[in-house]
Symmetry: C2
Subunit: 440 residues, 2 copies
């Protein structure tokens, strides 16, 4: 028995740990000391899952429903969930690097420079030190803005909570309207977005930058992540700016061009997968919401605090389509080629995502009375562990809440689990003759 | 110059021929003799494209707007489009079989038993004879029902038009309410659905059945298509029956259980990609409409008159996901294994589809004032060349019409073109070192 327990796959262990933490979190949030007025077990479970999976969808308004004790439980769950998934992902990639070919091990070594057990422990320690340091620095800068606004106690406490929530891409806020009160404030915009971009780009990329210093020397993964993040954020900012410019309930209602630009920047970067908002998401135009569905589905980086199918997964898919259209068989970029197994993995992860999203939408379209876009937005937000909503979360039926809980859980752990099982898969023992089928 | 023309790729030639036919069709439909009252060039182009791509979306009501001359032009375009794409697809697969490895040639040989030039000519002749024979038999049976209802002249003419429209999966009807008047009629249901299922399963499968007789001896492709068509139709019928049972505007409003079952059967089979309706599609429940989006996206068989990404493409994707989840590397089914290149092709075709659908929805959400589901349904219907609509087609803006025209064209020719360029792709000349990226 003991041996069996030890033989749990890393991905199974991860799922087990997450489930345990969510259950403990649920019990803690259900304590009378955690809430201002009693909440249901289901709402406690929803909140604990949302915090542990760093999603940020809320069935009860965080600052209204929870006491400071409850909020600190939420902050701890966020920290556990964010750092947990990040370090676990790094560990899994290292373990895969040991088991599989030299080629793949090189990626990890390049990115992390660590393969011994001692190295792994050091690596995880570094990850924790790095994360906490970043959060503390950010807390300091946020305090500069928020202590004058809110006083010492509340100002520091808000800075502490939002630094954790932002670095871990959780999107939980102690303001009922998220960060709408700071829509045009440079400090809030820069610090919060800086936190979730650093937390979301992936620890392997950060390590890579730390050790290599120069862009040319970085691994292909790091190059794609950095260039990809830059390009997608600029493009998204531009699109949102154009689409919302005349919307009086969003950009059109802001007094200065500076406010409009900050708001566009923030709502362009936040959907992948921070989930904070400085504009009222429910008031955005339909094309903007539709575009955000894509951003939420794509998400942040591998081995990061963010969710979604991951930016590199999306980039590989896009490159693959262009490559195939040119009649080529192999993706080449930045003087490297990406072999078919990575394309296959990326497509499998995206397909799985679409499958779960599709199923959840179908079920919710039966259980909930809401416009189709509202359901679509909610499900993809849960899958990408984003936390933005155009209003469904608050009015979800009981079954609806359970579905969204499951989708948050699957959205957080699914892509990593799948990436793991794809990477560690073995050849068949029974060999059948090959035969093709016509497609397209 | 002459040599260059001859060197057009088969897929380029196909696109060229389709474009020419659509232009000729547009001019013919714009003639005063074709319409009861003058229609715009754009509406003529829309109708010609819809007919040639066997889609069936209509901006003007066919029996109201067109004279018999106009209707016959539409029927001819449908016949050209349906038979054209089917024979071209067969030819392309044969040509690929000649160029590429023995393994792939075997698939084609197995399915068609034809590889010489003489064999090809015979094959296409067989395809035409077979199709016209089926249409004539179906016309006879339809006439049994419709001549008593409509008189000799109109009855035979309607049988002729609908036999062509159904076999070619076009969905055009001479009744303004499609086949709603025959919702519970066994002859209409069996003949029309028989036509579009035979036309939609793919000519390679029909040849295979003709030559092999026994299911066990069929190619893997034929087995998957036959079993897949059977399963998906049963499942879809069951789901639609359950979802619509209490809807007074659809099944709930029908007097007998027999009517309800026929209607469920018909609306389960028609969305992949016939496009006729015996129920009012606009009155269906949202979960049903959402489920139909999936059916429309999947579509019919390769080398058939139907559209969509194709049923085998979908089956390969589903099998791939399950295979990967089990930690296996290769799909095994029916004592055969499907190699990764087929998975890759299937995923590329589906991804391309999603890409075009996504782009069209985004643009239409800007240009059209309509609920999101209405836009979604219209775009996927156009992409799958289905022709069902919940009301957007009639009220499309000018830009909206152009977008739908493009999507019909891409939906019909895209998957085949992509399948061709994927299958004929060559290795790179410049070799770069391989490097992986993290995904998921
Ligand atoms: K989030
Ligand atoms: K059709």
């Amino acid at each position: 028995m003991k041996r069996k327990y030890i033989n749990l796959k890393p991905s199974q262990l991860l799922i087990f740990i997450f489930a345990i933490c969510i259950i403990i979190g649920t019990i803690l949030l259900r304590l009378p000391i955690a809430t201002t007025a009693s909440i249901t077990w289901l709402d406690a479970l929803f909140t604990a899952t949302s915090a542990m999976t760093v999603t940020g969808l809320i069935v009860v308004d965080t600052p209204v429903a929870f006491t400071i004790f409850g909020e600190i439980v939420i902050a701890l769950l966020i920290q556990l969930g964010g750092l947990g998934i990040m370090s676990f992902a790094v560990l899994i990639y290292i373990m895969l690097g040991k088991r599989i070919g030299i080629k793949e091990r090189l990626i990890i070594q390049q990115a992390l420079n660590q393969t011994s057990i001692g190295g792994i422990i050091k690596l995880v320690r570094n990850l924790f030190i790095f994360s906490l340091t970043i959060e503390m620095i950010a807390m300091f800068f946020l305090a500069i803005k928020w202590v004058p606004d809110l006083g010492w106690g509340k100002g520091l406490y808000f800075s502490f909570f939002h630094a954790i929530s932002a670095f871990n891409n959780a999107g939980f806020s102690l303001w009922s309207d998220s960060l709408m009160g700071y829509v045009g404030d440079p400090i809030t915009n820069i610090v919060i977005s800086g936190l979730f971009i650093i937390g979301g780009i992936g620890f392997t990329v950060l390590s890579d930058i730390w050790y290599k210093k120069k862009f040319q020397k970085l691994s292909l993964h790091s190059k794609l992540m950095i260039a990809g993040t830059f390009i997608i954020n600029i493009v998204a900012m531009f699109i949102i700016f154009i689409l919302e410019y005349n919307n009086l309930n969003s950009l059109g209602g802001l007094p200065t061009l500076s406010d409009k630009l900050w708001a566009s920047y923030f709502q362009a970067t936040s959907p992948r997968t921070a989930g904070f908002n400085t504009l009222d998401i429910g008031s955005l135009e339909e094309p903007t919401l539709f575009f955000m569905l894509l951003l939420m589905f794509i998400g942040a980086g591998s081995a990061s605090t963010g969710g979604g199918i991951k930016l590199t997964t999306f980039i590989v898919i896009i490159l693959a389509v262009f490559t195939f259209l040119q009649g080529k068989k192999e993706i080449t970029i930045a003087e490297r080629s990406i072999s078919q197994i990575y394309i296959l993995r990326s497509l499998a992860i995206a397909t799985m995502g679409v499958f779960f999203i599709f199923s959840a939408i179908f079920l919710l379209s039966i259980t909930e009375q809401a416009p189709f876009m509202t359901i679509l937005f909610e499900v993809i937000s849960a899958f990408g562990t984003v936390g933005l909503s155009i209003g469904l979360t608050g009015s979800l039926s009981m079954i609806g809440k359970i579905i969204i809980i499951l989708i948050m859980f699957i959205g957080k752990l699914g892509p990593l689990t799948l990436a793991f099982s794809l990477a560690s898969s073995k050849e068949e023992k029974i060999k059948y003759p090959h035969e093709g089928v016509l497609t397209g």
